[in-house]
Symmetry: C2
Subunit: 117 residues, 2 copies
């Protein structure tokens, strides 16, 4: 078994171009022996956002705290606690914090050995 607490996992700033006031905690990954997918926690401060981008792998997302918006190529959708999102491979997307508090979400991706993640 691998057991951890979110609070004991370092929150690292996301420095990708287009990211603003976002930190990431890598909850589970191949470093833990995870065979197939990674679980990450993203924390977007007030006004924060992830890059508007696309990539060849999917996201599976659950909103844990806060309020936000999912931005697609031609549409936006509101996000709140309990919102569940599948971003299919190659679909442009961005997560934005539209509230006054931190927006927390978990985002899972497959482990694709050949991909640059």
């Amino acid at each position: 078994m691998v057991l951890k607490s979110i609070n004991a996992i370092e929150a690292k700033p996301v420095n990708m171009e287009g990211a603003k006031n976002v930190k990431k905690r890598l909850l589970l990954s191949e470093a833990d022996g995870a065979p197939n997918f990674r679980m990450r926690l993203f924390e977007l401060e007030k006004g924060g956002c992830t890059p508007f981008h696309a990539h060849p792998y999917e996201h599976e997302v659950l909103i844990l705290e806060g309020k936000g918006e999912l931005v697609g190529k031609e549409q936006q959708w509101p996000l709140q606690v309990g919102s569940v999102v599948l971003v299919p491979p190659n679909e442009e997307h961005q997560f934005r914090n539209t509230g006054d508090k931190v927006l927390k979400l978990i985002c899972l991706i497959p482990i694709l050995k050949e991909a640059n993640q």
Copy 2:
């Protein structure tokens, strides 16, 4: 994009042998076009538990609400909000609610077309 709210997804009783007072919501799966893994939400009422069992695929778990216990073959570990668990393939495990309120956790599994999940 696929967007849902947890509350709009049916909570179905888990009727596996050894399960007690557990409901499951299938948040994301191949029915939504998910390519690689399923996201499920489990809700264990007071006194509830999942079966003590093992299977050839892993679990990635995050505790969302409540208090509980992870039971392994020779050891138990306390679970609380923010606990993260990797149950490796073929390792015996059980989740138990040890608190007075509902224990809510998300549990992800790979989509293995040949496996009986």
